[in-house]
Symmetry: C2
Subunit: 148 residues, 2 copies
């Protein structure tokens, strides 16, 4: 184990952490004050899965405890962005689906973000993002697989 390698790994995760916080802040500035980037991610996730997902699946996908997801779903429901129905396949479980309002909300917010995205592309370049994607996906998958 080389000291320099440890340094590299720490710096990598530090950069990732800062970029994550900056992008979250950017997104959350466009959202109602009680909706976080995670709420937004949940709507996006559900809009790609019309059949819906269970609260536990959502909790796993977003790496939060299931009690936290229970609470987040309540907030999304209060905004009318998701519906919760019993799960016919499993009486213990439920199914969360995006409402029409949820899909509309998602589309509208993405529209509102277009100027920011355009600015990022203008100043940084799509290639700067695109060229990093495969490497990030690789690291993400291996980290995920390494969870015991």
């Amino acid at each position: 184990m080389h000291e320099a390698d440890t340094q590299t790994i720490f710096r990598f995760f530090t950069e990732v952490g800062i970029i994550n916080q900056l992008s979250r802040a950017l997104l959350e500035a466009r959202l109602p004050s009680d909706l976080t980037a995670t709420h937004f991610g949940v709507i996006g996730h559900l809009s790609r899965r019309p059949e819906g997902e269970t609260p536990l699946q959502l909790a796993t996908a977003f790496q939060v405890p299931k009690t936290t997801m229970t609470h987040m779903i309540k907030v999304l429901q209060r905004h009318g962005l998701v519906d919760v129905a019993p799960n016919a396949a499993d009486g213990r479980s439920k199914l969360v689906v995006a409402t029409g309002a949820g899909a509309a909300f998602l589309g509208q917010k993405i529209q509102e973000l277009q100027p920011d995205i355009a600015k990022a592309i203008d100043e940084i370049g799509v290639d700067a993002f695109a060229s990093l994607l495969p490497g990030l996906e690789n690291i993400r998958m291996k980290l995920d697989a390494a969870r015991d």
Copy 2:
């Protein structure tokens, strides 16, 4: 504005978010339950700045509101990992410095993380991390500069 470009940007930030959460979870599993990755980051930050930093500098560096930093400092103090002293240069302000115990704690936790780091290097390779670093730093700096 091309649809594909927007997709690329969204996927980039999504990957960054997931990697951040996975790495935080990995680190926090090694920390006392009331210390977060941010607390750990603060000690690391201070250990590189023996002259100390003000609470506001720390809040800015870690992108949290100053009230949150007030609270985090209290927790670190309770653990004896930092000291808080009046700031001779500015009576409104304070200086937070890492204690010997704080430095020792940092070193010990980094030691404890070595097996995880070794595993990551083994399975993913240092180059996979190192090769992404310049691109990430570039994006981080430009995003940071773009904050109005």
